[in-house]
């Protein structure tokens, strides 16, 4: 619970968000309808923060010691690196933004990533969204698989990605941008957008390279709504590097090698009938993470819309824990219980 408190305080400091208890305001759905006072105290996130943080804490904290995984500081782009076999990564990825014609939103995804083998990783995402002066809702889940087809590392390493999404139209976790997704998608109320069901298949070709401490990753995204909708395309490109390449001899919290920084670019590439960059959103921004000594990795990235079709600004941040050999730990607990 201590973690929860600090987390909320950080949000309050950074975004001037009011955390006074109470139900979600429903007074105005669009920025134009809101009074100045209502706009200044934007989101009551109490409901929205509590559920993912509670699940996150309940799942992660009982494991005690965690391993400090060397995560890339990317939010949209996947690198070719797979989860270590038997390890479970629990992460909470958040994004907030404010469309010019709408209210501030807060999208979140609670992620569970498990390394089945050295060449196969599975992930489950639970998504939710909160909109200022609107509501907080669960928007659906995503199941994904990543496969590394080779036995060795190469100059360029391909990973094949297959995902099934069962979400609704209110989802704003922004795990990727495809087709003609744009600022207009962020204006309507949750009660309207949640009626749209999205059962989608998403395929990605992930390419990644490591060279002299740099990681360069490129993703090509192909998404198809299983109803009668055309294939949509998108991309994500990112590069990052630890601030220091060699490790320190003594354990430390703020050594340069604990930080990684880079840049991330992503956007839509239209759909089958209108491919290209016309009427697509594009985002670019720096990104950074820090591996804390207690095992969590904290990441953040301000992103900027590169055209009028995009949201002007997005702010992404996340926290992840990696639990080593999760089923081995459970087996140990079980044997311990038997021994008693």
């Amino acid at each position: 619970m201590n973690f929860n408190f600090n987390f909320q305080m950080k949000m309050k400091f950074n975004f001037n968000i009011d955390f006074q208890p109470g139900r979600v305001e429903q007074a105005c759905s669009h920025a134009a309808d809101c009074t100045t006072q209502q706009r200044s105290t934007e989101i009551n996130l109490r409901q929205f923060i509590l559920w993912p943080v509670s699940i996150f804490a309940l799942l992660a904290l009982p494991f005690g010691s965690m391993c400090s995984g060397q995560e890339r500081p990317y939010f949209v782009t996947y690198s070719h690196e797979m989860e270590e076999p038997g390890n479970l990564e629990i992460a909470m990825l958040n994004v907030t933004g404010k469309p010019e014609a709408g209210n501030r939103f807060w999208g979140s995804a609670l992620e569970f990533e498990y390394g089945v083998t050295g060449w196969w990783t599975i992930e489950l995402y639970l998504d939710g969204v909160s909109i200022s002066h609107d509501s907080t809702i669960f928007t659906g889940y995503r199941l994904e698989n990543r496969f590394y087809p080779f036995a060795r590392q190469h100059w360029i390493n391909p990973v094949l990605y297959v995902e099934f999404e069962n979400i609704n139209g209110a989802d704003k976790s922004l795990r990727e941008v495809v087709g003609h997704d744009g600022a207009a998608d962020f204006v309507d109320r949750n009660s309207e957008t949640r009626r749209e069901k999205k059962r989608e298949i998403e395929l990605k070709l992930i390419l990644g390279s490591n060279f002299r401490g740099w990681n360069v990753s490129e993703n090509l995204i192909f998404e198809k709504n299983l109803t009668n909708a055309p294939w949509e395309f998108g991309y994500a490109v990112a590069a990052s590097r630890p601030l220091k390449l060699s490790a320190s001899a003594r354990p430390c919290a703020f050594c340069a090698e604990k930080f990684a920084a880079g840049i991330e670019l992503n956007g839509g590439l239209g759909d089958r009938y209108t491919p290209g960059l016309h009427n697509t959103s594009q985002y670019l921004g720096p990104t950074m993470n820090w591996r804390s000594p207690w095992g969590a990795t904290l990441s953040f990235s301000p992103q900027f819309g590169l055209n009028d079709f995009s949201l002007p600004h997005l702010f992404r941040f996340g926290v992840s824990y990696e639990v080593d050999q999760v089923f081995g730990r459970m087996g140990f607990l079980h044997r311990h219980k038997e021994g008693q």
Partner: protein, 129 residues
């Protein structure tokens, strides 16, 4: 000769399986250019200590806090690691992993850190087998 052929095939397969079970087949896959690589941080005074820190962070859950191995994960104090394998062999294994046998690639770690890990592993005294 015909009678010996099945026995030879059986024998060859058995040797391959035993090599696989022993986990040493990766050594034969290391390209000669990697095999001959020399650890660039071997003379740095902090390399072993830094490697030990990295080992605790990334490897100890599978290979044991005292490098003794656990369950199906092999110990890293053995004549193979400390004597048969060169520094270049160990570096190659860390970069590429052995994904079919559960050893992940550690290419996510920068190269100097992989060499620090190699320095730590090479600093350990092999146990009698």
């Amino acid at each position: 000769m015909k009678g010996r052929l099945p026995a030879m095939v059986f024998g060859s397969i058995s040797v391959l399986i035993l090599m696989g079970v022993a986990g040493g087949e990766w050594l034969s896959k290391v390209p000669s250019s990697d095999h001959q690589k020399i650890n660039p941080v071997r003379n740095e005074p902090d390399a072993v200590a830094a490697g030990e820190t990295l080992y605790r962070d990334h490897c100890s859950t599978c290979h044991g806090k005292n490098v003794e191995g656990a369950k199906k994960r092999p110990p890293l104090v053995s004549s193979r690691v400390q004597q048969e394998a060169t520094e270049g062999d160990l570096h190659w294994l860390l970069v590429n992993g052995n994904p079919r046998r559960g050893m992940p690639s550690w290419s996510r770690l920068p190269d100097p850190q992989l060499w620090q890990l190699v320095a730590y592993l090479k600093s350990l005294a092999p146990r009698k087998e």
